[in-house]
Every structure is written in structure tokens, then in C-alpha cells.
């Protein structure tokens, strides 16, 4: 409550500064039209790509820019270009530059503002501060305290119409990033903060837009609970809102993901208020068109070229061949090394990853960053939880149950050993398990590290998926914090990047197979 009162005082002060000296609002009787263009959850997808299940190329910043320029070309319809968060992290095109490439791209495309998304924190607060400093547009989040340079709202005047844009980000951000990324930051209720700011914004502007990173469901609830905004433009849930609902008086909009769609909102104002709107999505895809040209295409190409030298960085050396060849049938030195990284990262007693995590071996000698991208191509992150010994056995039984098929479930482990007999029927193959040199205790809880794919039950590891449903894990009060079943959950760093950092620190590695997984014959 104290924080909210402080916010009200702060909001008043910020507001006075923001609107001081601005020209008068739209006069009564005047009729104007303005256009708001919006994207969200771009995640650095600057190049066109083929999404899963699609044979077509979609997106591409140069093609997105071409659509934006076409829609901005009518001088009779003044336009704002907004981004609803999660712009700077995701694809290599963004990650290799900690999002700097995306901010430069957005500057070139002349964005007018963006709301901070939860993934904007993934490179840490120092990097976010730099990105905000580099942006030629305001980065907004009215319900976040503690990030220098972040602004609660902006009021832009276009064609004589004053448009207030207030930024709101999910208050659950600290629960889904590394704790260090959110240290010292306060995330307040978006609804309470919007209610605090709205009366003054309404007085100062003709149009009020809530630019959010909350998810479409939450946006609908926000529009229902807080009357008075003219539109809610959102992100976070990657929703393709082709037919936006009108809730209260506000359309609730979102433009999918990865620059595959551009949102267009046309507003008509009469007597100083919005009296009509139309909204649509424009698909963005090359569609056989020639490669786009211009400053944005050049910028995309320039950063793409810069990726090759970065991916060719020698992160360290291996004195022996790192084998992923048999990773679906037996313990390998590469599988054990990655499992060790997972266990140490989470501070867990044991780690279990699936063999399918590793897709390529690495030869003896220098290890290039791109070798790790090929070997660990999936965007997995580390999680850890408490699991009873009998459930850990169940997971290992699953791992060796269908090894004859060579599927990806075969385990690679750390902190424990397992002996199994493949002549036994699936589910009865595991003969012995030790953890830290001692026999596994079925009733004792162990901290088990893995990655998000298995934690959700991927590759048939349903026992991991089941632990997530333990009541003390799903209670919001316990989410992600010590004391609950979940002991580690850092969605802000991919496993391959943690492996790369580990090798950088060690300079040279020579992991061996250590009989962690042993096949034994039945007596």
C-alpha cells in the first residue's frame, strides 16, 4: 500500500513534468483520424523463417518495415509505431549482441515507443539500462520501479491529436527470470497502477493507449476492470488477435509474434474523443517477393554478417573427442559433461538430461561457439526440483525403457550412477542407483536438475511433469522460491550459453566416461 501511495505521488510529479508546456488538446467539433501500428514478441527474428508446420517463409524485419512504410505513407493519417515488449531477446540475431541489434533496428524503423517485456531483463539490468540508453524512443513500464531510464508513459502529438501511451508489464516477471536480474526491482499491480495514472492521462490527452506485456487473457481482464482507455495493445501470449474483442469501449489487440504480423488500429476522433475504430492484422511474409532493400534490410544484413565471427569464437579447447554419437544408447563423455553443467548450475545433488538434448559431437581441439550451437540446438533452460528417490528411479526406468528404439529419452546423468539390465522388461530394468556414492533411498527427497523440456514431461518423462503438479510447487506464494518443490528455474539463459560460459572459464576440458551408466547382465 505504501508503495502504491508513493507511486501516486511520483505519478503526479512525473505527470506534471511530462505534460508541462505541451500544446492544447483537440478542439471540440474537429474530426481527425490517426493510425497506431503495433508489433509484439519480436524476439529478434530479423530474418524470415519457416515456423514449425509451415512450408512458407514468414516475417523478416525488412518486409515488416516495407509494410510499415506503406501504412505510414498517407500524410492525412498520422501514425504511431509501438512495440508491446519482448523485442530484444530470442533469436541469435538478437542474443549474440545482447539485443543491441534489435534496438538499432527499431531506431531505423522509427518506433515511437515500447513497453518493457519480461525477456528484456534476460541479459541483466546493466544490459537493459544500455538498451534503454541506445533507444531513440521511450521504453515504458509504469508498474516497474528501479530501472533507470524507464518511463511510465509518453504523450505524443500526431496531427494535432495528443496520444498518451502507458506501459504495463506482467508483475510475475521476477518469477520467470534469474533472481539476479530482478534484484532491487519492484513490480506493482498493472491494474492498480493504470487506475492511478488514468485520470491525469485522460485530462492531458485525447487518446489513451495501454501498451502492455501481460498476455491476451490478462489484457481482456484489464480492459474489463479499468474503464477509460481507448485501446489495449498487448504482447506476452504471442496471440494472433485477428478479430479483436471490444471490452468496455476498448479494443483489445495483439499481433502474434516474431514480426509475422503487423497490427493496424485506425482511430477516428470527433469532439476530442474516439468515436470509431477499425483494427486488422497484416501478414508479413516475403511471399516470393524479391529481397527487400533499404536501410533496414542493410542493417539486418550487416548484423547477420557480424554473427559469423561471433559464432566462430573459440570458447575453449577439448583434449578429447566429445561424443554425441551414442548418446541415445549409453553414457558418453559429452553427455556427462553437459549433465554436470546442469547439476552445478542448479546446485542440485543429481542431474538427468535426455540424450536427445545433444545433436552433434565435437572434435578434439578448439571448440567454437557455433559447435555448441550445433551440438545443443534447442532453447532449453535449467530447472531443478525436489523429487523422492522412488520417483527418481521411475525417471531412470523410463530413460532405459525404450533404448532399443534409439529414441532421445536415454539419460545422461550427473551426481549419480545407475546399473540396468536391458534383458529385463521395460519398467524393471534398473538394478541399482547410487547418489553421491550411497544407495538411493526411495523415501528421501533429492534435488534433481534437468531442463525445461523434460521438466514439462517431454520425451515421456511424465514423472517430472507430475512433480510440477505438486501443490506446494504451483502455489503462487511458493513459485520459484526455496522452500517449495521448485528449487531452480532460470528461463533467462539457454543451456548452450551456460555450457559455453563453463568452457570459457575452464579454458580446456577432457571429460571422460566414468561408468555412471552401466549395463549389467541378469544374474
Amino acid at each position: 500500500m505504501k508503495k502504491l501511495l508513493l507511486l501516486i505521488l511520483l505519478a503526479s510529479a512525473v505527470f506534471c513534468l511530462a505534460v508541462a508546456g505541451t500544446p492544447c488538446r483537440l478542439d471540440a467539433g474537429e474530426k481527425r483520424q490517426i493510425r497506431i501500428l503495433h508489433v509484439n514478441d519480436f524476439h529478434g527474428f530479423a530474418e524470415p523463417y519457416r515456423p514449425c508446420g509451415s512450408g512458407e517463409l514468414w516475417g523478416g524485419a525488412a518486409f515488416l518495415d516495407a509494410e510499415i512504410r506503406a501504412l505510414r505513407s498517407d500524410p492525412a493519417v498520422p501514425t504511431l509505431l509501438l512495440a508491446a515488449g519482448d523485442m530484444v531477446q530470442g533469436d541469435n540475431w538478437a542474443n549474440l549482441f545482447q539485443g543491441r541489434s534489435v534496438i538499432e533496428l527499431m531506431n531505423a524503423m522509427a518506433f515511437d515507443g515500447m513497453v518493457m517485456g519480461n525477456h528484456e531483463l534476460d541479459f541483466g539490468q546493466a544490459a537493459l539500462k544500455e538498451r534503454i540508453r541506445e533507444a531513440a524512443f521511450p521504453v515504458l513500464a509504469a508498474n516497474v520501479q528501479g530501472v533507470p531510464g524507464l518511463k511510465p508513459f509518453v504523450i505524443k502529438e500526431i496531427g494535432g491529436v495528443k496520444v498518451a501511451v502507458i506501459g504495463l508489464v506482467t508483475e510475475r516477471t521476477p518469477l520467470c527470470t534469474h533472481p539476479a536480474n530482478a534484484v532491487g526491482l519492484t513490480f506493482l499491480s498493472p491494474k492498480a497502477v493504470l487506475k492511478t495514472y488514468l485520470p491525469e492521462l485522460r485530462k492531458a490527452a485525447d487518446v489513451v493507449i495501454a501498451l502492455t506485456h501481460l498476455g491476451h487473457d490478462a489484457d481482456r481482464i484489464l480492459a474489463q476492470q479499468v474503464a477509460g482507455v481507448d485501446a489495449v495493445i498487448g504482447g506476452h501470449s504471442h496471440t494472433r488477435v485477428a478479430n479483436p474483442p471490444r471490452i468496455g469501449n476498448a479494443p483489445v489487440l495483439q499481433a502474434w509474434e516474431h514480426g509475422k504480423a503487423l497490427g493496424v488500429l485506425d482511430l477516428t476522433l470527433e469532439d476530442g474523443r474516439v468515436t470509431a475504430y477499425s483494427a486488422r492484422l497484416v501478414d508479413v511474409k516475403p511471399g516470393g517477393r524479391p529481397a527487400a532493400e533499404g536501410p533496414v534490410a542493410s542493417l539486418v544484413g550487416r548484423y547477420s554478417q557480424r554473427m559469423e565471427p561471433l559464432l566462430s569464437e573459440v570458447v575453449g579447447r577439448t583434449r578429447i573427442f566429445l561424443s554425441a554419437a551414442d548418446v541415445r544408447y549409453r553414457e558418453t563423455n559429452f553427455g556427462s559433461f553437459v549433465a554436470d553443467v546442469v547439476r552445478r548450475t542448479a546446485g542440485a545433488e543429481v542431474a538427468l538430461i535426455n540424450g536427445g538434448t545433444l545433436r552433434r559431437s565435437i572434435r578434439k581441439g578448439p571448440i567454437l561457439l557455433k559447435d555448441l550451437h550445433s551440438a545443443l540446438p534447442f532453447n532449453n533452460y535449467v530447472v531443478a526440483f525436489r523429487l523422492r528417490g522412488d520417483k527418481l528411479r521411475e525417471a531412470l526406468e523410463h530413460g532405459v525403457a525404450s533404448m532399443e528404439a534409439g529414441d532421445g529419452a536415454f539419460p545422461q546423468i550427473s551426481g549419480m550412477t545407475v546399473a540396468y539390465d536391458s534383458s529385463k522388461p521395460p519398467g524393471r530394468r534398473v538394478q541399482r542407483i547410487t547418489v553421491g556414492g550411497r544407495e538411493l533411498e526411495p523415501g528421501r527427497e533429492y534435488t534433481v536438475a534437468t531442463h525445461d523440456f523434460l521438466a514439462a514431461g517431454g520425451d515421456g518423462y511424465k514423472v517430472f511433469g507430475q512433480v510440477v503438479s505438486a501443490e506446494d510447487l504451483v502455489q503462487p506464494a511458493g513459485g520459484g522460491r526455496h522452500g517449495s518443490k521448485l528449487v531452480y528455474n532460470d528461463g533467462s539463459r539457454w543451456l548452450r550459453d551456460i555450457v559455453a560460459d563453463t568452457i570459457r572459464t575452464l579454458h580446456e576440458i577432457d571429460p571422460l566416461t566414468e561408468n555412471r551408466i552401466v549395463e549389467v547382465s541378469a544374474p
Partner: protein, 66 residues
């Protein structure tokens, strides 16, 4: 967080997305071939964030279902 995939309740950790909801559901094996929509019929991406109690509807093209 609990969400529903074609009516099946699945529990997920904070930060998990549509992809994880599918993996945790009975439709996990073919998640890459799925089309996912929210309860209002809007298509959602696999990396889309979820909300407590959200309903997802998964469909597979006839070809993929074979």
C-alpha cells in the same frame, strides 16, 4: 500454474509456455505439428506465455493425425 489443454488440466512452472503445456498434456508427442488456439479462437505461438486457468485448444491437420 494450472492450464487446460483440450480440457485436460496440466500444471506448469512459472515461465513455461504453450509448448510446455502441450508437452505436459496427452498431446505432447506431436506438439511440433499442433495448431493451438485460445478459448476465443485466436491462434497462439508455441512460446506464448500462459495465464492461470487458461484454456488451450489443440488441433492436428488430418495428414498429421494419420
Amino acid at each position: 500454474m494450472k492450464v487446460y489443454v483440450n480440457g485436460h488440466a496440466v500444471s506448469l512452472m512459472e515461465g513455461m509456455t504453450v509448448r510446455h503445456a502441450l508437452l505436459a498434456s496427452p498431446f505432447g508427442e506431436n506438439w511440433e505439428k499442433a495448431a493451438v488456439h485460445d478459448e476465443w479462437g485466436n491462434e497462439v505461438g508455441m512460446d506464448g506465455a500462459l495465464q492461470e486457468g487458461q484454456n488451450l485448444h489443440v488441433t492436428f491437420s488430418p495428414h498429421d493425425a494419420e
